[in-house]
Every structure is written in structure tokens, then in C-alpha cells.
Symmetry: D3
Subunit: 126 residues, 6 copies
């Protein structure tokens, strides 16, 4: 069974979120220190850390899919940045979103594309 | 822009579903001929056909994620077979399901694992 | 403002559910007498009773749409019978379900068509 | 079986959305040209085009119901305009929303009424 | 069986919502007078009024749980104030939200904590 | 910050699930050993263990609420037994379910009452 230490969770989180890691952690901590601990240690130490079993690009596509299905748009935006950071291309991400027309219909896909456009625009500005 | 013909949709569907394709199409047709046409042509001709833009393994993982999030268990079962057929391993699929504990919580993940076990058992029997 | 009495709720319920009314009410009462009271009086006295403001066929199509979207299949089955009873045709119902491919995707629509087929089969048997 | 051409989808879309059609299409195209093609051709060519099988007023009520159930508010706003454009009255729309108290509870109905009020206010202003 | 009169519903509503009651009722009335009647009389007269059968603190925790699960954030904010007003502490509310990581995953819990922070900040300001 | 050890999670789990604990853990383990570890250690060690901050009866009501809202019926059944085991009465549980008519509508509440009846019948048999 894979070992997990708090340090591994944070390190994995930082490698996936890149330059968005610090502000994401700060945002969580400002809401609740407990939430920050649980929100970094558990997901990234228990799951994303096992990139040898399932690679990070696949993991981020899986996460994008569930976030779009749930309509949790703030988290979608954060993970669009993460997906790009681990090597997904804009084309792959757009294909992933469009495919969800089959599974969740047009409304959520349109809303997801709106968030993707925000990310594109932000990246073009700076 | 990618071209799409009805023949492409059905061919892609058959390559992804393998030996489950015929019974799946028959099941759809028995419900509604319109549903069978729309259910094969649109998803597989418009989306899965573009495996050059996003590969089939990634596409199936995206589909598993949304089906588990939605709790649509009959379709999850069908796509577990499809995911295996396009090259996802049981380890990768199990990792994908476990990762969703972070995003949808334990209940849906337990129910998804129950469907995966059905697939494993069926494959062991024959 | 529209008036509502308990008697109106039950009478409207019975006119919409036809020969399925008695067994539906009995089913609710067996679960919880409170549930039966709330489940007949409120929906049918407060809403369906106002068929002069929005007709019963429209009301049943609205109900079918939300039940399919939610995936609450036992209630979908009951309301498929109700929709037929108030004058919706099988063609209209099938069109309503198929249209939801655009809004909820294929999985829930396939599951809805499965319930519709059960209703068709039951009606053909007796 | 009904025939479908891209022109039919766009023509149906324009007749339903009236003076909101151009801006809606432009909004989709700005997000993704693929999305605009899929978002107009498929829904309106494959489904809304068959208004002989299920009329447009019924179709819009079905759409309002699923959008409220899903909580996809931007699309609800667009379709409130569409529902009015195809002949639904404010009274019918309000009755449709209120009826959903029975099926989705108060929160989503309150949020839907908030969107309806936005539409009313916009229409009163100009 | 418990008796219910319109006056009981409004009185219970006012006792639970405290100084937020008037503005909440006004908000509902501005959307739709029918909605205001149904939104106060039914929930508070039929359910919250029976605080002898299930106490108000428990009732508000149950309501917080479903609102977070549904992602209906405007109503969550209102009920966070109500929960505090009927005697839930910030610690209890935070524990309730964190527990939902197990059942709905991190995204909705983060969004819920964001709403809780808004309430804290508003209460600190005045 | 509260400490957590694997032993605490399992002990809390066993105290809450009583005579259903062994079979529940066995069921999870049969699906996936990883799932059993994550499904007992994390929820019960990180959350339910803090019954000094939020009591177990409240915690189970919160859990019932989210499970009914999500429609995850197998887990609802398990937690109905757990709720009774930690001291919730049938009256309190029934009131909790009925209150959700306000927040999720009738369909899910009827389905929840159906599961409650199963539990009642099983308890009456032995």
C-alpha cells in the first residue's frame, strides 16, 4: 500500500498547481485552517501522489469532468490552470469539454466553455 | 472542421464497444429507433471519432467520471467494459474511481466500485 | 388568489391518476400517513388544481422533465401513466424525452426510455 | 424519419429566439466555433424542428423545467425569453416555476423566480 | 395530526429568521406574491412548527446539509443566519460543513465555507 | 488541532455502526481494500471522531440529509441504522425526511421513506 505523509501531499499539490499553488492554499486557509489541511493533504497525498498508477494528465481530465458535471465553476477554473500546468493542451481540454455534451447536455458545457475563455483571456493578458 | 458521416459514428462505436457493441445497439433500438440513431451517430461521430485530438483512453476516463458523478449506473457498467476495451487497465480505472472520493464523496464512489466488481465477476466467469 | 381545500387536492389527484390513483395513495399511506397527506393535498390542491392557468398536459410534461433530470425513476413511471391519462400521446412523450438529450445528455434519456418501455409493455399486456 | 440540414437548425433557432438569436449565436461562437455549430444545429435541427410532433410552447416548458432543476441559470434566462417568444405567457411560466416546488423544493424555485424577475425588469425598461 | 394555520407558519418563520425575517419575506414577495405565501406558510407551518418532534437546531443543520449538497448558495447564506439564530454555534456549523467532505467532496464544501466567511465578515462589520 | 490515528477511525466507526459494522467493512473490503481503508479511516477518524464539537445525532441527521438529496439509497439505508444506533428516534428521522419536501421536493422524500420502511420491516422481523 502506498505511503502518505503530509509533506508528500503539499509537494504534489505545489507541483500540480505551479504558480497558482500559493494563492490557492492561502484562499483555503482564509476560509478555515482545517479546510486547508484537509483540502491539500487528503486529495494530493492520497490520490494525485500515485501518478505512477494513473498519470497526472488523466487525473486532471477526470477532475475537469466531474467539476463540469457538478457545475462547481470556481474549482473548474482552478483545475483548468492545473490541467494546463501538468501538460494538457487547450485542444485536449476543449475536446474534453465538448465530449460532455453527450453526457450532461449543452447548458453545463456552455458554462464550462465560459470559464475556459476566462482562463484564456487571463493568460493572454499576462 | 472535422467531417462526420453516419458510417464513421457506427464504426467508431463498434471499435470502442467491441463485443458489447451489438447488444448495446440492440438495447437502444428496442427502446426507440430514434434513440439508437441519435445515441450512436452523435456521440461517436461527433466526439469519439476525434481520437487524434483527444485519445480514446482519456475519453473513456472522462466518461467514467461524469457517469459516476451523475450516478447513472447502467451506463457506467457499459463504459467500464468500453474503457477496458480501449486499453485502460483495472488499476487505472480503480484509481480513477478512488480519486472521485475527493470530488463527489464516498457514497457514489462505493456505488461505482460495486458496478466495477460486477464487471470483474462477469469477466472471471466467462 | 386561488382557494384550496383538501377535497380539491384529492379530487384533482384522482382525475389525473385515473385507475392508478388508489394504489398510489395506498403506497404513500403505507410509507407514512403524514407523507400521504402532504403528497396529495399540497401538489394537487396548490398546483395541479390551477389547470385554468396552465393546462394539465403541459403540467405533466414539466413534471416528466424534472423527474428525468433528477433520475427519480419510480416517480417517472407513475407520471408517465398520468401524462397519458391527461391526454399526452406516446409520440409527444417520446419527443419530450428525446429533447432532453440536449439538456441532460444521453444516459438519463436512455434510462427514461427504459421506464417508458416498461409502461408500454404493461399497457400491452393488460 | 425526419430530415435535418444545418440550415433547418439555424432557421428554427432564429424563429424561437427571435431578436435574441444573433447575440446568443455570437456568444457561443466567441466561446468556441465548434460549440456554436453543435449548439445550434443539433438541438434545433434534431429536436425543436419537429414542432409538428410536439409543439414549441410545450418544448420550451420542458426546457425551463430541466434548466431550473439543474440550476443552470444563464441558460434559464435565455429560454425564458424564448418561451415568451413562442407564445408562453408570464402567467403560464410562473405557474410552471411554482409547480416545481413539488419536485425540486423551494430553493431552486426561488432562484428561478429571481431570473424571471430580471427578464420582466429588462422587458419593462426597453 | 398537527394543526397548521397560516399565522403559525409566519410566526415560526419570524422566530427562526429573527432580524432577517422581514427582508427575506420582502424579497420573496417582490419575486411573486404566490411564492411568498407558499414559501413561508408551507415550510414553517407544516415542518419547522413541529420543533417538539425535531428541534430547531437539528432542523437547521439538516437544511444546511441539503443546501450545500444542492449548491443553492443564496439560500445557504440565509440559513446560516437562521442556524446561528436558533442556537447553532460557529464551531458546530463549521463541523457540519467539513463533515460533508465525506459525502459531497471538496468543491461544494469550499464553496460553502466561502458563504460562511461572508456571514462572519458581515457580522463582524455590524 | 485534533489528532487522528487509524485506530480512532475504526473505533468510532464501530461505535456508530454497532452490529452492522462488521458486515459494512466486509462489503467495502470486498469491493476494494483501498476503499475500505479510505472509507473508514478518513470519515470516522477525521470527522465523526470530533463528537465533542458536533454530537453524533446531529452528524447522522446531516448525513441522512445529504444522502437523500443525492439519492444514494444504499448508503441511506446503512445510515438509517447508524442514526438509530446513536440515539435518533424513528419520529425524529421521519421528521427529518419530511422536512426535505421543502428542500428537494416529493420524489426523493418518497424514495427515502421507502428505504426507511425497509429498515422498519427488517427490525420488526428480527
Amino acid at each position: 500500500m502506498a505511503e502518505k505523509t503530509e509533506k508528500t501531499g503539499k509537494a504534489v499539490f505545489e507541483s500540480i498547481f505551479g504558480d497558482k499553488a500559493a494563492q490557492t492554499e492561502a484562499m483555503l486557509y482564509a476560509l478555515s485552517p482545517e479546510l486547508a489541511r484537509l483540502g491539500i493533504d487528503f486529495p494530493f497525498g492520497e490520490f494525485y501522489a500515485h501518478s505512477d498508477l494513473l498519470d497526472l494528465k488523466s487525473r486532471e481530465l477526470i477532475t475537469l469532468s466531474t467539476l463540469i458535471t457538478q457545475g462547481t465553476w470556481p474549482q473548474l477554473k482552478i483545475h483548468l490552470y492545473a490541467a494546463l500546468n501538468v501538460g494538457c493542451t487547450f485542444v485536449e481540454i476543449e475536446q474534453a469539454i465538448l465530449q460532455l455534451i453527450v453526457y450532461v447536455g449543452m447548458p453545463k458545457v456552455i458554462n464550462a466553455m465560459t470559464v475556459l475563455k476566462e482562463v484564456r483571456d487571463e493568460m493572454n493578458e499576462g
